[in-house]
Symmetry: none
Subunit: 189 residues, 4 copies
């Protein structure tokens, strides 16, 4: 079943969600289509499960960053780096995650199925914001977290498509955008 998700990730990354065929995923996973459908009700369920796996993995990496001693009192720039760097690394290692993230915006019908990834990321961003800007109203906090995530999501495709040098420059730029956006908020708007 992990085998199947690995295969799905490969195929999604290579051809996108819509053009990925379940038969190709099964073949890539070294199993029969029938077996694939024993694990997943349908193609959508595969994407959902994959998104779930990504959500879990990212949560783990995020927690790791925050269990580091002193994380809470880190300067904002450093904190951003500690969060962004593993996220980028994760997406570089798992290009299908980006595909799923984008697919959600492509068609309303696709949104629900990758919700977990979205929601999980959002919730973590909200935790961050709550810790750094405790004065914000829940609405504001949610909005700031959402904006942060959207900026990340917006830059992700370019970052993933870039070669190593340009990628580093873009990541630096992403951090700059977020730092400049969040710093005034941290200090009470």
């Amino acid at each position: 079943m992990d085998q199947a998700l690995d295969a799905a990730a490969e195929v999604f990354a290579e051809v996108g969600y819509e053009k990925a065929t379940t038969n190709l995923i099964a073949a890539r996973a070294g199993m029969s289509p029938g077996s694939l459908y024993q694990f997943f009700r349908n193609k959508e369920a595969i994407a959902e499960a994959l998104a779930g796996r990504y959500a879990t993995e990212q949560a783990a990496s995020h927690d790791a960053a925050f269990l580091r001693p002193g994380a809470a009192s880190l300067p904002l720039g450093n904190l951003i780096g500690q969060v962004i760097d593993p996220m980028i690394a994760f997406h570089v290692a798992n290009p299908a995650a980006g595909i799923l993230l984008q697919s959600a915006d492509l068609s309303p019908a696709l949104a629900a199925r990758t919700g977990q990834l979205h929601e999980a990321a959002l919730r973590r961003a909200e935790g961050l914001v709550a810790a750094r800007a405790p004065g914000l109203s829940p609405d504001e906090r949610a909005r700031v977290a959402s904006v942060t995530f959207q900026v990340f999501k917006g830059m992700l495709p370019a970052i993933l498509a870039a070669g190593p040098d340009e990628r580093d420059a873009l990541v630096r730029e992403l951090k700059t955008v977020l730092l400049r956006y969040l710093e005034p908020i941290e200090h009470g708007h």
Copy 2:
């Protein structure tokens, strides 16, 4: 033919590019599939033409913003507003434009055409940056423009999905992000 593009825009917005069927587009346009294919060689060509139309319309609206007297000497915040507001209005009025903008994994030919939309927006952003931060190297300028556009693109889906109130708040936030990102650049990094 405008009829057909209108119908295509509706259908793309509703179900996304991949799930849009040419027969549905034709029906929505009140014509037969055969007629649709008299105007467009294939499904891709429909999207291409639609992207072209959007590129043209946006260029016009953007030029309008810049021909306004004094635009060049406007405070950055105001300038951003003058650019962002019509762009948002455009995307709210034309939700299919966002779909096309986001669709990364299209065929090369279509990508090239939606690339028009992309490129046109990018080039306009570069013009802006060049005017405001003449000291930047071409590479830096291109990167700043690209980042600006990516941030916009990243927030677009949420803005379009939001209700009117939340939408306004998100647009304000988008402007804030861009202002805080660009202001230091305008003043020499």
Copy 3:
């Protein structure tokens, strides 16, 4: 209407009957599809009319060969030459005639529509045979004529496809086949 048939002949020769589209024929004829359908009930009717025209033209050329004084008493080899040469010339000049002749064999449904060409050619061959071998029963005469025509038809594609030199050799061979076949018949089996 001759215009239309000329165009049809071109198109049939270029792409074959099945792949020829009525719109292409109309365009080639410099008229609208509507006009084409004013002259011909449907695509089949075009082929029929074209076959009819070819039948007429060939009849004329055949009669010319036979009105030549002394034709009836010519040695068989010469007579064959006088019949075959203009027929080959005709088919070289009108490649669509060969297409129509072949199409009749490709699908039972196609046979009827080019019947005129077949029948006309057969009847002329029968006339020839009757003149040269008056002793044959009507059945035998019909069969000999039919065989003669089929041999001609069988070699026609290769003759038309060949370059000039090979073509001459093949035509010579065709005449040899027919001469050797018909000579004993002329002399009472």
Copy 4:
């Protein structure tokens, strides 16, 4: 898969290659279109496979005729009978073979494959000629073989279309044509 080819043969024989639809072939084969496409990449591939099957079967039957002891020293008329009779029987039993043999304006790929049928028959005819008229130059030998085959091909449709009695008469006539054509060649032109 043999099922599918049988069905294709039926359909090709009934309506010709162009008018044969893959759905009809599938239905005739008692399978779904999807299954048909599991065996054959596309419609062309069906015809190719069928042509291949025919080529193989004919080669076998032809070899059988020639492995018969004393075949090489048979009088020419007998030899012709031994070759023609099974070929006619084959085409009577497999009317689609004639359709494929006659279809000249197929796509290059298909032509190449039906060419197999063509080529195989030609090569066998050449073998025959070489054995019987060793004095011929390769060019002449090829031409004689080609002419022989074309005569056969030319008479085939009429033979297949005829009722049993007329068919026998036509086959006899075919043999006569070939015998009279080839006999002088066998004896040094």
